[in-house]
């Protein structure tokens, strides 16, 4: 694979990538088409606004309750997983998580690992870390398989290859896979993937998966999927390693049905996915299939930082449905790759500062018009625009709390600080304000006609010849 893990991108590059994406008509049409499709499908699943609101409230309450007891639930989960025979690992950083993966792989002399869809594995740069150690890590979700074949990263958390047309995928298969003729017939393309990957499922030493929900009371991993590759990865190889974030735990099994239904309907507009796979242990002595070992890696990677603040903690309510990106006017236009982070779109810009620090992500939090569409569709009611405003303030002015987040104040500049201080001085003193505004009207001829980004597509701003107070005074004297 060519691309390095995209986990850091300076702001200038974000602007440049956005511009490139905006000027790519094929890309924009792929995203526009997909967004319209997904919005329509979701809408059809929620015909009753009151029922939807009730379900959102219930789901939000479950997530908030789970987070309120997070450390207790993690310990309860761990106890029950161990009792069920599942090995639990904890990782503070992506490197630690990859080290744990490698240790398990080495113990089993693994050459090939087959992976079901897992955004957390993208977050830790799993494929590259394994490749560096000489182990092949192969994607098995159809979308991820396509993206890996192209040497790219997923552009959407639910539909990774959403940026590609079937013609592009047809060409990709023809170029990269021996003996595959060009076709744009989707059934044939999927059949090609199926045949290649079936051999890999049977040959792989280790299967990797993510987790949608962890159930503390029973010690259960819940996996939601349509294709069956997740079931293959968690059943066929002799070792299964699941990796997920520490925030995914719920207390009770009865908390799963509401979250499951709101997830599938919000994500792809399906009443239910083809499979819900509940794993509560490795293969038992009398069983004929299933993995001999099941491992769970619980990853922090900045989540505990979000947890530390009442407002930012709501970020962790997320169940990764992707509805916010499907409804985001910015995401629809620039696509997922422009963000340069594992998680793009509205959820991406509020979670990435915790994973990567604000120094690397402060430009991203400005990639929103604050229109609020994301929080309106969020099934767990995360106040995304409010969090964006908070993160913008953190990036510029530093933290308002005793526990600043990593990289706080990293986008403040001396010039900007001086400008704002000057502004505060002028607007705080009526006499100075009057004098300065009088002066500005007289110096308006000095206004430059090129005003940076503003004049790239707008006419220049020029102060008025007369102040409002002067106009009002004239009006008064006339009457």
């Amino acid at each position: 694979m060519k691309t390095a893990p995209m986990n850091f991108m300076p702001g200038a590059e974000f602007a440049q990538r956005s511009e490139t994406a905006l000027n790519d008509p094929a890309l924009r049409s792929s995203f526009r088409g997909a967004m319209d499709f997904l919005q329509g499908k979701r809408r059809a699943q929620f015909p009753d606004a009151i029922a939807l609101e009730n379900l959102r409230r219930e789901s939000e309450a479950i997530r908030r309750y789970s987070l309120s007891r997070l450390p207790d639930l993690l310990e309860q989960l761990e106890r029950n997983l161990i009792r069920n025979g599942i090995v639990v690992h904890w990782a503070e950083t992506p490197d630690e998580a990859n080290r744990i993966m490698l240790e398990i792989a080495r113990r089993h002399s693994a050459r090939l690992m087959i992976k079901g869809k897992s955004m957390v594995s993208e977050e830790i740069g799993f494929n590259h870390a394994m490749a560096a150690a000489g182990i092949e890590a192969m994607e098995s979700d159809m979308g991820e398989f396509i993206v890996q074949l192209a040497g790219e990263a997923p552009s959407h958390i639910i539909m990774p290859a959403i940026h590609k047309s079937k013609q592009q995928i047809g060409e990709l298969f023809h170029d990269k896979l021996a003996g595959v003729p060009y076709t744009e017939n989707v059934d044939e393309l999927i059949l090609t993937g199926r045949e290649i990957l079936r051999k890999k499922f049977a040959a792989a030493d280790i299967g990797i998966s993510g987790v949608n929900f962890l159930v503390a009371e029973t010690g259960t991993l819940c996996l939601v999927e349509n294709e069956g590759n997740g079931r293959m990865c968690t059943t066929v190889p002799k070792v299964h390693i699941a990796i997920t974030g520490i925030e995914k735990v719920v207390e009770k099994l009865e908390h799963v049905p509401p979250l499951f239904t709101v997830l599938t309907r919000s994500a792809t507009g399906q009443p239910v996915t083809t499979y819900l796979n509940l794993i509560s242990g490795p293969r038992q002595a009398n069983e004929k299939d299933g993995p001999d070992e099941v491992h769970l890696i619980l990853l922090d990677n900045g989540r505990s930082q979000a947890y530390d603040d009442e407002e930012l903690r709501t970020t962790l309510q997320c169940i990764r449905c992707g509805a916010c990106m499907n409804h985001c006017p910015i995401y629809a236009r620039i696509g997922g790759h422009a963000y340069g982070t594992t998680y793009p779109g509205p959820i991406g810009v509020i979670i990435s500062p915790h994973l990567l620090g604000l120094a690397a992500t402060h430009k991203l939090v400005t990639a929103s018009s604050l229109c609020g569409a994301c929080s309106e569709v969020c099934p767990v009611k995360i106040p995304i625009p409010q969090l964006l405003v908070r993160l913008r303030a953190e990036a510029v002015a530093g933290s308002p709390t005793a526990h600043p987040i990593r990289g706080t104040g990293s986008s403040s500049s001396l010039l900007m600080n001086l400008v704002w201080r000057g502004w505060a001085l002028v607007y705080g003193q009526p006499a100075i304000y009057r004098g300065v505004s009088w002066l500005i009207c007289r110096l308006r001829f000095l206004t430059p006609s090129a005003q940076g980004a503003w004049t790239s597509c707008r006419s220049p701003l020029k102060p008025a010849a007369k102040r409002l107070r002067d106009l009002l005074a004239e009006e008064k004297s006339r009457s």
């Binding site: 310990e75 989707v186 079931r231 099994l253 242990g281 530390d308």
Partner: protein, 220 residues
């Protein structure tokens, strides 16, 4: 300190923000079984599964007819199940029955390459989403419902419950789960290429449900 201790220490140090425990959902008013069967059938068919109605006496004949129509040459059955044995007593010579009586590792290649269809029972089902509930075990292991391109399922109509929550409650799932529990709501599918639905992504291309209306589980 270990990663575990560090993570838990950070979480414990964070402000305590109490949130009320979510109310346990009241289970839906119990519909009559005919309504649940209809709801289940509609949802299953909408998800591209085939549903047939039969009874305790007639299902083997129906299954064999469907298998023949679909060109099934080899059918995988479970070990020591009543329904598997009934089938093995009356199958025609043209249909080869394979019994899942060894660990998968002992016959992986044959399982992946030579089996046309698998036949299992469902433990129960869910009406509102059209889902089958399977608890794979030593008799009917996990891969029977995943690897063969066609999956035939025998379902007792009396076990169709209104919702996932009601199944979990009535079967007391929280008291203890087996190593694997599955909900299956149609054939394997994907829309990963330009939102175009394709069936048979990695699992079965076809899901065929035989709903058995009379059986020992029939409500009084």
């Amino acid at each position: 300190m270990s990663a575990r201790d560090n993570i838990l220490a950070r979480l414990r140090k964070a402000p305590v923000i109490p949130a009320p425990a979510p109310a346990t959902r009241e289970c839906e008013a119990r519909e009559d079984q005919a309504t649940l069967i209809a709801q289940f059938t509609d949802a299953m068919r909408a998800a591209h599964a085939e549903v047939f109605f039969t009874d305790e006496d007639a299902w083997p004949k129906l299954l064999l007819r469907l298998a023949e129509e679909k060109g099934v040459n080899t059918l995988l059955i479970g070990e020591n199940t009543n329904h598997g044995q009934r089938l093995s007593k009356r199958h025609p010579d043209s249909l080869r029955l394979i019994c899942y009586d060894r660990p998968a590792s002992a016959w992986k290649s044959e399982l992946f390459n030579e089996v046309d269809a698998g036949f299992t029972a469902a433990r129960s089902a869910i009406a509102d989403t059209g889902s089958l509930v399977l608890w794979p075990d030593q008799h009917e292991p996990r891969l029977m419902s995943l690897v063969p391109p066609i999956h035939f399922v025998l379902l007792d109509a009396a076990t169709i419950a209104p919702s996932l929550a009601s199944v979990m409650a009535s079967e007391a799932w929280s008291a203890g789960l087996p190593s694997n529990v599955l909900l299956i709501s149609g054939p394997s599918k994907t829309a990963d290429i330009q939102q175009t639905m394709a069936y048979g992504a990695h699992g079965p291309r076809e899901l065929i449900v035989l709903v058995c209306r009379t059986s020992q589980g029939r409500p009084a």
